[in-house]
Symmetry: C2
Subunit: 339 residues, 2 copies
């Protein structure tokens, strides 16, 4: 099969590799209908994380080709969506809704899903089948559910977005944009998007943003305060992962409000005294996407939401390198790859 491998920062190649096989009786093998490039894949691409001859990708949708002897709820031929963490969905942590921390979790990035085929561990716990074979135009949205939508959704839940709430969103990448969509679905009254890019502003408004703030850092905070009687937003989503973004999120939140952070933190240190004086709730980390998949698949299947719009470039898998380049240079927000 063909699979993307990052040999070094900036060097992604699609190569012939051995087909995956069932290893554990709880495994499934899927043939990917789509895969994609994640913002977090750019960290090693840019040299901010070490990388050496590493398989890439952790997002996937596709059709089940084989199952292990102990797989009970997933069948060959099912169209399935899964999260970037494989999880048993039965342990105490999974039952509490934190499948990204399942005691048996497997990081899909170590298996790599920018490929034609992929082995999915803990198939019963990890995979959710759609009601049938999706229309082709639904595939980008189902693909989004695997990570960026699920992550934006978690951020909005962690920020306690809901009726009567003013929500601010730091970051206008795919996750931030889908955080806006999630906040809207959860009933937020007002949604303030921080964005400087005209095309992303347009999508932000389409997904539910009511206000756009172009300022960043403390100037951005001042703008949010201005829009909220000096108090700050009730709920703030942080979908970047830098020090500036984290502090912008904390300072944009009113005392007693909630920050949901899903940007993978790099070189972030939160000053304890500032957090103490801010009086906000802070919650985040790798999203337990599995928790939300049944609900998200239903919303997509019923065409209530169209998160697939975040994909603004589609390429065949073999041209993955171009996709990385486009996201690195910000000529694309999110790249869909078709094996």
């Amino acid at each position: 099969m063909r699979q993307a491998v990052m040999h070094a920062p900036g060097d992604v190649r699609v190569e012939d590799r051995e087909d995956p096989v069932i290893i554990e009786p709880t495994d499934a093998i899927i043939r990917l209908s789509a895969t994609c490039i994640c913002g977090s894949d750019l960290w090693p691409y840019r040299g901010a994380e070490p990388v050496e001859h590493q398989v890439m990708g952790h997002e996937y949708v596709g059709v089940v080709e084989a199952i292990g002897d102990e797989v009970r709820t997933i069948e060959v031929g099912d169209f399935v969506v899964g999260s970037f963490w494989a999880s048993d969905n039965t342990c105490e942590i999974c039952r509490a809704g934190y499948q990204a921390y399942c005691v048996h979790r497997v990081l899909m990035g170590t298996i790599g899903t920018q490929s034609e085929l992929a082995r999915i561990p803990l198939a019963d716990g990890t995979l959710v089948a759609t009601p049938g074979m999706p229309e082709p135009d639904l595939i980008p949205s189902l693909m989004a559910a695997s990570d960026v939508l699920g992550t934006g959704w978690f951020a909005a839940v962690a920020a306690e977005a809901g009726p009567g709430k003013t929500v601010a969103v730091v970051g206008d990448g795919a996750v931030g944009l889908l955080g806006i969509l999630a906040a809207k679905q959860l009933g937020a009254e007002r949604i303030i998007a921080f964005s400087r890019h005209a095309d992303r502003q347009t999508l932000a408004r389409e997904f539910g943003a009511t206000d756009i703030v172009e300022e960043r850092g403390e100037n951005g905070v001042a703008k949010v305060k201005e829009l909220t009687d000096g108090l700050g937003a009730h709920s703030v989503i942080e979908a970047v992962g830098t020090q500036e973004a984290m502090m912008q999120a904390i300072h944009s939140t009113r005392p007693g409000g909630h920050v949901g952070f899903v940007g993978v933190s790099h070189d972030v240190a939160i000053p304890g005294d500032e957090l103490f004086m801010a009086g906000v709730h802070l919650h985040g980390g790798p999203a337990p996407v599995r928790q939300y998949l049944p609900e998200l698949i239903k919303l997509i299947w019923d065409r209530a939401i169209d998160p697939g719009k975040v994909f603004d470039l589609t390429l065949p898998l073999d041209r993955a390198a171009e996709g990385y380049q486009a996201m690195d240079q910000r000529t694309a927000t999110k790249v869909l790859l078709l094996p």
Copy 2:
């Protein structure tokens, strides 16, 4: 009147000062029945915060001597308890339960309550009257409600202590001990106290601790994991304010669990990547004690709780300097001062 003044680190004197008077029509003047020394008063005492000829104290109970023209709910002769933040209790932030961030808040520490008399701003919002004149033996407990009990209670609420939960408490000072009492009242199933002092361990058990862990730092974390099937506690209270205590709290919490932190942070920086991977909820800051006062006063009045036990040294106000020394040298946990 007599009032404690810190001239410099380590130098506390009780001096003759002018009696306070009504300044705003929303003020009240109270005659203190008791006041006390807070763990946070030790930061300037030890030179960790700047101090120069500063009035001290922010905890108070007493009898109303005078009220301003606009005070409606508090009467002369009432026995009252208030928080260390004066608050209007009507603004949007107060109504959301975050009175410590009231848009009109006044820090009582700037007025100083280690004194015979004190001016209380925003009396209607700040003060809660007891059902009548308390029996003398209830005064230490009512005094505790003004800060340490209210703060421990907030920490337990922020940590979402409740039925079925395992709660760990970092810090065995007055706030930590009363965090244990709060967790017990809130229905926690198991309460793990970190403590190395025999007398504090005894009080911890009396307040509801089921397990004592003497190890600190990562050894303490390992012990909590051992007691919780490797998962960590559901709820952790941080009542110290140091880097070690904060990280001990975060690492002792299971993914999806809650850390309630009320130790005034000094030189704490929370690494973003560790917080991201921990997946905990983090909430804390100055406690909105006012929110809990009616409930806490009722529990004390009904003799359902006895938080006054944290006072292990009682001195006349004029001997405040001895009280500071005792707390600094840890020969006392919490000092009650009688004007």
